[in-house]
Symmetry: C2
Subunit: 429 residues, 2 copies
Amino acid sequence: MSEQPWTVGEQIAAANAVALARLHAAQPQLVALRYRHEVWPELDPYTLLHAGPPITWERMCGPLRGAVVGALRLEGLARDEREALALVERGRVRFAPNHDYATVGPMTGITSHSMALFEVVDAASGTRAYCTINEGLGKVLRFGANDDSVLARLRWLRDELAPVLAAALGQGGPIDLRALIAQALAMGDELHQRNVAATSLFARLMLPRLLRTGLPAARLAAVADFLTGNDQFFLNLAMAAAKATLDTIRGIDGCSLVSAMCRNGTDFAIRVSGLGDQWFVAPANTPQGLYFPGFSAADANPDMGDSAIVECLGLGGFAMAASPAVVRFVGAGSAARGPAITAEMATITAGRSPHYQIPALDFAGVPTGIDVRKVVATGIAPLINTGIAHRTAGVGQVGAGVVRAPLACFTQALEALAARYLPPAAARR
Amino acid sequence: MSEQPWTVGEQIAAANAVALARLHAAQPQLVALRYRHEVWPELDPYTLLHAGPPITWERMCGPLRGAVVGALRLEGLARDEREALALVERGRVRFAPNHDYATVGPMTGITSHSMALFEVVDAASGTRAYCTINEGLGKVLRFGANDDSVLARLRWLRDELAPVLAAALGQGGPIDLRALIAQALAMGDELHQRNVAATSLFARLMLPRLLRTGLPAARLAAVADFLTGNDQFFLNLAMAAAKATLDTIRGIDGCSLVSAMCRNGTDFAIRVSGLGDQWFVAPANTPQGLYFPGFSAADANPDMGDSAIVECLGLGGFAMAASPAVVRFVGAGSAARGPAITAEMATITAGRSPHYQIPALDFAGVPTGIDVRKVVATGIAPLINTGIAHRTAGVGQVGAGVVRAPLACFTQALEALAARYLPPAAARR
């Protein structure tokens, strides 16, 4: 038998099969709460991590700028907005994407020196990922708010909630986020715009652990109030679970699957496994959806946040069939649209998850592993469920909707794949 | 205009409209935990309440007899089975249906003197209903087990869990079970064979209240372990909520809607609103379903328990479309069978609930208010989701499945309605 060299198509298919197997094998588990300065001691307090691809201050949207000001105040580097802006203008502040530090953050996604982070580990590969604690609704840093109430809550999360949750986590082993997410999918969450089941299951899991910490009941009660008062509490855990899973496919030679999608409120960007950590960037689209009373599309900031990592795993928009309530919440039509959207997303993915299943589809797995080749071939861009931020810093959330990833990111990525993997003659054609 | 007397059909339609409005208006709320001897001081310890219609010891099935023995031991009236049987044979023990005392109980449904009961009140009408605390899985009295471990757990429920839960309830106002059930339906529970969402939401609600009781953490932790360790914990609350709702339509003159369905493991019985508290009885069917390893249909006891009260409200089998996981669990086929079963049940009900909605059906309400006329006209018997008990006392649950109410109950009830409401000539025809 003569040795036939693999075709490029076969190489990519084999690489994608490896990637899919890793996505299927991943077992993200919540193991601890740690502070950023412990996880990344090489980052100084003047380094702020943010959602999305790299961006300069000049190109930042309003909410992201507002969150930068808030973070500099939280870290004690500026007493007010004026001092914060002066620091930025002197070039004293360094900005870097969360994704470069194994971290994800919702909306503005600012992760600063003293913030507490959930630490999630993929038990199969040891890959670690981090995410801040969800602040709840209302005026919050992730939507660019930075007044005293916002900073007071952030301090409480850091100084009170995090130590109590860490103590509770210490009362038992790792928390199996894969099982918890699978269970929540069967309970109508899609883990992006709806996390009520996951949050309830998590609170239920934490209840006996909290009671075993030996901490005073008043401290536990305050933490319990916060945990039970925010249906989106689990979102940040879902994001960290997705990040720990997706990072297992970073840099697989020849792989055409998307390893990250993110946005900073100005740009949308993707990374592709076979192309390492290169970003493929295009202007972020503005979500289509439903607005809270008093707001309209004119108020909407372009799409933002690292939360689209959950769509890379097959949750959020990709799991719309699991969540008729979200179809309605984001204004995407009748319940029948859910299965239609999930079916559409299945045309651009490499496979179906064996763990994350949708009962209403007879327990079919969510479509997972976005293939840039399929996106470009079909012209079907990934659909993301998202909150909508006001374009002015500090106003906060003004609605919820769906948004498409810009196709340009995928065409650029496919060209780069072609340039790298096709023979020179074919690449030139 | 001449006065036309209403036809019988018009009278029934008007009565049913009143009944349906009451079912829609009901707001069942959990207000307290109380002991049976406080709620019903007129009942002595020798009176045991049981599931289903009245039955003599001679006709009781194995599990019900086993539970009777266990309850007599729990109450300190007998030291062992021999003494318990001697009491029964001397005629010292009085048996009465739970339903005659505003109470419901799952499976054998034994409710004895010292047991703690959830007290649920319909805020719209003030109607009260009661149900015991769910014992969890394994060897439990409700499946007829009565060994020392069963009694120890029942004592702990009574002496430890109930006071702690009562103290926690006291830290806040009534708990809105209507809202909680509605939310759980949107999370894949049908509130009969699946209560994981409702139980999680309830645990989440109780968490801050437990922490405010001021009780020692070790006591709270034990309660938290129990609450979070049993996915069916909420079933008994769903049953009490359904009972409080259905009792609002007891005795509406001319009404052909079912106010209760229940079974004692030998007989199945229904009550019909316009016919007061009369039972219409037929032999209980044996459930069809899936068996745990090592068991088969030959082990199954006929259908038992007051839990079919949830089907009267439109939950359980009637809400199958909400719960693809239950369709599979009870062996009823593929997920598509869920909507088909719910649609079938809609053909025998008076209306759709405005509160209890099914997201996958574009938020259509569950079919509620079983009309005996429609059951007889269509020949479609109500479908009930149920656990399957071993026919021998103490073995416990051997599977889960679905069972049809016997049509004979409905034909008897329709004949009684005709005898009561049709003119004598018509009734004779």
